[in-house]
């Protein structure tokens, strides 16, 4: 009713919402992220043009991961076929195809549904291979720990400038097919320059899935991200209850120990120190996973701790 005079006329009201149109997707993504973090699974959203080499990189990763003892898994999105999932299966990465039909991107709900009936919980690194597309997938959070954008040297040096939304979203760019550089008029320095103009924290690894060049750096990057992922799983309160009737006290301490013990090796001392220095404020947060490596870069001290 009209509040001015009570005449019974209807009223025009402006309803201020200021809410993200993708709020629903973001909620579903948070849900996925919680699942991944709880299970201690490093989930990565792999994006790039059709033919950039997304599947090829994952196939090559399977070999390197086997040497590390990591268990991999993947869901692979495609408009019409399950070819990529079959290729990954063959390479030793248990995979499930998500056939998107007309959809040009994955959203958090599609990923969530694909996880049902697929043993992703047992994996160390879980790849979500997105639809080949440098535009649409960029704005959909899927619940991943990080976005990896695959850009092949055959695509042109200016692609980052042409698709800034995609590259802005990238935590890492894999510059693939570098074995072809001698046959092309491509200047890798120009690719890096273009990335620096669209990514405030540019991070790129040049690699060739065919020759194996750069695969070690890619694996090292995965290892770096796996660190903070594994810890929250071990210190999460409700998992603590589920796992550890054995420990009645100070679970953080106890589990940090386990963490150390499990990883062992020459790195553990450094890792431990680093966790202590930065751990608390960042634990389990998306920011940590995204910004971890860069964060270390910026405040120098953190980075040096590692080595």
């Amino acid at each position: 009713m009209c509040t001015t005079c009570g005449c019974g006329d209807t009223e025009l009201v402006p309803v201020e919402l200021h809410e993200k149109i993708l709020a629903g997707n973001d909620r579903a993504a948070r849900h996925n992220r919680e699942h991944f973090v709880e299970a201690g699974v490093l989930a990565l959203n792999i994006m790039g043009s059709p033919g950039a080499g997304k599947t090829g990189v994952l196939e090559a990763t399977a070999k390197a991961a086997a040497a590390k003892g990591w268990k991999l898994g993947a869901v692979s999105a495609d408009l019409a076929t399950d070819n990529d999932a079959r290729r990954l299966d063959k390479a030793g990465i248990p995979s499930k195809a998500i056939t998107t039909g007309q959809a040009c991107h994955l959203d958090a709900e599609l990923v969530h549904r694909s996880l049902h009936g697929f043993p992703w919980q047992g994996t160390d690194v879980f790849f979500i291979e997105n639809v080949g597309n440098l535009v649409c997938p960029a704005i959909y959070d899927l619940g991943q720990a990080a976005n990896v954008v695959v850009l092949s040297v055959t695509e042109g040096e200016d692609k980052p400038l042409k698709y800034p939304v995609m590259f802005k979203a990238a935590d890492l760019v894999l510059v693939t097919k570098v074995d072809l550089v001698p046959h092309l008029d491509v200047d890798l320095a120009r690719i890096h320059d273009a990335l620096a103009r669209v990514m405030p924290r540019p991070r790129a690894i040049e690699l060739s899935a065919r020759t194996g060049l750069g695969m070690d750096r890619w694996i090292a990057w995965l290892e770096e991200l796996r660190g903070p992922i594994r810890k929250p799983r071990e210190v999460r309160t409700h998992l603590h209850h589920a796992h550890g009737a054995d420990e009645g006290h100070a679970h953080e301490h106890v589990h940090t120990h386990e963490h150390e013990h499990e990883h062992g090796g020459e790195k553990h001392g450094h890792g431990h120190a680093h966790e202590h220095a930065h751990g608390h404020s960042h634990d389990g947060s998306e920011e940590h996973l995204h910004g971890g490596p860069e964060h270390a870069h910026q405040d120098g001290a953190g980075h040096r701790h590692r080595h």
Binding site: M1, T10, E11, L12, V13, P14, V15, E16, L17, H18, E19, K20, I21, L22, G24, N25, A103, C104, H105, D107, V135, C136, A138, I139, Y140, L161, P164, V165, M166, K168, D193, A196, R197, V198, M199, P200, R201, P202, E294, Q298
Partner: protein, 114 residues
């Protein structure tokens, strides 16, 4: 393109809000699209024109505000020129995307209530 799925999400949300408030009619929708939101404003309009038929938004004009993307230094606040390397040359820190540059928001719905 994904603009269609975004419009679908938008219309569903608007209908939900209108029903919740018992609106008799919706008069206007305003949305904000940042340059780096990953949305083409023209495609979005086209998608809206196509999709609104048969919904509560069928007669509702769409007001779309486009926001240019700008980057600045989080330390000294200096704006970075368009196309520049995204690092402050003075402070040597990564640039920060300014508010609204990648926004895709439903700002307001003007509706008629009893």
């Amino acid at each position: 393109m994904h603009e269609y799925s975004l419009v679908q999400t938008l219309v569903t949300r608007v209908e939900e809000e209108a029903r919740r408030r018992g609106a008799l009619a919706i008069h206007r929708l305003s949305i904000r699209v940042g340059e780096l939101a990953g949305v083409d404003p023209e495609l979005f309009r086209t998608a809206y024109e196509t999709f609104r038929a048969g919904t509560l938004c069928a007669e509702v004009p769409l007001e779309l505000r486009h926001v240019a993307a700008t980057w600045s230094c989080p330390a000294c606040k200096r704006p970075l020129p368009r196309g520049a390397v995204l690092r402050c040359p003075d402070c040597d820190v990564p640039a920060q995307l300014d508010e609204g540059s990648d926004a895709l928001t439903l700002e307001a719905i003007e509706m008629e209530v009893p």
